[in-house]
Symmetry: C2
Subunit: 398 residues, 2 copies
């Protein structure tokens, strides 16, 4: 089986080790290293209480070149003041010194509990251990993918290969999601590698576009994290995306990787038992389509109904009614899968309740609303809302 | 014990009967009747998919005079098109004819499942039964308060008496809350009676002001109902609030009644085990204080932490960081009760965790944040977020 992990593209090695930062003893330090400096692009959380690694990461990304990404889970280094900033910088320096790279070519990231200082001794040992056995193997890629997780149940990876002229380039990624997920720029940790060569400005644009239709279309609990980012590193070791056609092929594959990862985040949302896809069409503008889809996707009443397997369209129109989006209630149609639930201001007659029940119990439930007001559409992914979400978050102690 | 129900003020009778609209067999039709036409004021939900009773109620309130309010629970008559409107009007007509009153002096209300037609036969029988034994007794007032409930566990009532010159006037109210509660104007069914005499314009203004600081400061799940309203009827049978001083006394008592009812809604929120009061001070504007308090109060991460008894201030600053409110993160102080958790960008040192644990396990938990940016403040009431909320809403089938 070919390597389909973050190390699949040429020029990358990775590792993940258990440094004891997580009390569970699971992997908690991940290192992703390029053989040589790469062109890189990143988007960061817009939360204003962002963590020290975000502050440092933004500074380092000004150079636009990255050699390594160092991630720890178990402690987010958020709200840790000057000491937190110093810790994030020291972590980068340790990696940079070992690689003989400038410190600004190392991007730090931390995820986990807010408001605690990084256990620098454990982290330092973990980084040394990870540096000692970096590998381009699939096993190493998977270890990295596992080391960045918090309450996720599964590792999240995606890989696509695409022909650019005579060369085949690879795009791979992994991410962590699970809780505190809301789309306002980057909303989790997401790492992407490719061996394609692209001009740096284009790399930036393509990343932003891909994030917009993928990670920025997922909400788990509408809580915007303080730590999150999506980063793309391009080693340039394989084909060049230097024509419009090649760029389009590359962009499409990058979007597929991001959309696959985003879907995996929704499917592994805290407590999730199924994915809910909300599609809104017939809106006046794309922004209004998004606002309407988002209103439905964030409603705890809709999400608990989906959990209970109940085609409760009343809660869908309640959520729509709460928005400022322009439409006439009498023109709205609400569907579950292909079945109309509500049309022209009234419930559909003679519903096939058995068929609805079957649709609601699937692993993927699609609710669609046509606002009958225009031609714009958008979609948002989320998951159902279960007791398990409460259990996870009521028992996850600081 | 004096009557402290909705019939406590002079000039009102009430009743509540079980008409079989709720399958549970509980009281589901409530009738509140004034002995003579009263001056009245009302605020209605701003949800655009509002129910037929809201549409009819808005029309009837244009007259500003009410003789009766007829409420059913178990079926909300929302999204029921022309037939729903006809049903709401027919219900008013039945009551009006029995009382010899104009139909526009009857206000209808329905709460419960969305998208089903009212069972007019059962409702008609229930209204006749309720009309047959209207009473000014406390028992009748309690029956009315019970008949308007849906998933509420407790009836919610409040009563204040206030001296206006030589007269004593009474203000009483009851409401239903529980789920689909978010503050954008009225957000539940709330009924208020008084025997004071006030000019109608003043009645309107005082109701709006009282709702603003009470019902509009409660959120359970940030879902804005399609059915809700607050109505105040003034029989004028007792003292006149006709001087500035008397008006102020009356306004203050009215606000107390509304705030007591709002608090009861938070305490009986779906699945609630404790009330969470979020106070934000030091904001640039009142609107920003409200936005910040609201952001904390709606966060499922904060609410599950409160449920778990965990002073997780990281989630509080995460919620603050997500807003557009103006402040410098380094100037923010977060307290639980009187204990500082977070100050000047860093966690407080030497926290008394035992004291914090005791505060978190109380029935009323207060989180306060000082933004250090101005002088405006506001507060929002909500409840914790439990598995029981999910159970209630996943199992409440359409």
């Amino acid at each position: 089986m070919p390597n389909e992990t973050i190390t699949a593209p040429e020029g990358f090695r990775a590792n993940g080790v258990a440094a004891g930062i997580k009390t569970s003893g699971r992997l908690d330090v991940g290192l992703l290293v390029a053989d040589a400096p790469t062109d890189a692009a990143a988007v960061f959380t817009q939360n204003r209480f962002c963590g020290a690694p975000i502050v440092v990461g933004r500074q380092h990304m000004k150079g636009g070149r990255l050699r390594a990404i160092v991630v720890n889970s178990g402690c987010s280094n958020v709200a840790t003041g000057a000491r937190g900033l110093a810790d994030a910088r020291a972590t980068c320096r340790q990696v940079a010194d070992a690689l003989g790279a400038p410190v600004r070519q190392v991007l730090p990231a931390s995820t986990g509990v807010i408001g605690e200082f990084l256990p620098m001794d454990k982290l330092g040992v973990g980084i040394d251990a990870a540096l000692g056995s970096l590998s381009p193997s699939a096993a190493a890629g998977r270890r990295f993918a596992r080391a960045i997780l918090t309450t996720d149940l599964k590792i999240k990876q995606a890989c696509r290969r695409v022909r650019l002229g005579r060369a085949t380039v690879t795009i791979a990624g992994c991410c962590k999601g699970s809780g505190m997920i809301a789309p306002r720029m980057a909303t989790m940790l997401g790492y992407l590698t490719t061996d394609a060569h692209l001009a740096r400005g284009i790399l930036n644009r393509l990343l932003r576009e891909a994030v917009e239709t993928s990670f920025n279309r997922v909400t788990i609990d509408e809580c915007q994290s303080t730590s999150d980012m999506v980063v793309l590193m391009a080693s340039g070791r394989s084909g060049r995306a230097d024509t419009q056609k090649r760029l389009a092929s590359f962009a499409s594959a990058l979007r597929e990787v991001c959309e696959s990862l985003a879907y995996q985040i929704a499917a592994d949302g805290e407590g999730a038992t199924r994915v809910l896809e909300v599609v809104v069409g017939g809106a006046r503008t794309h922004g209004e389509a998004h606002a309407a889809a988002r209103a439905i996707a964030v409603s705890p009443l809709v999400k608990t109904a989906v959990h209970g397997g109940d085609p409760n369209w009343g809660r869908i129109i309640q959520a729509l009614g709460q928005t400022q989006v322009r439409y006439a209630p009498d023109h709205v149609t609400v569907r579950l899968g292909g079945i109309v639930l509500f049309r022209r201001g009234a419930p559909a007659r003679n519903l096939d309740r058995a068929a609805l029940g079957r649709l609601m119990r699937k692993k993927h439930v699609t609710i669609s609303a046509d606002l009958g007001a225009g031609t714009a559409c958008d979609r948002v992914l989320t998951c159902d809302f279960s007791r398990e979400y409460v259990t996870i978050n009521a028992d996850y102690h600081t």
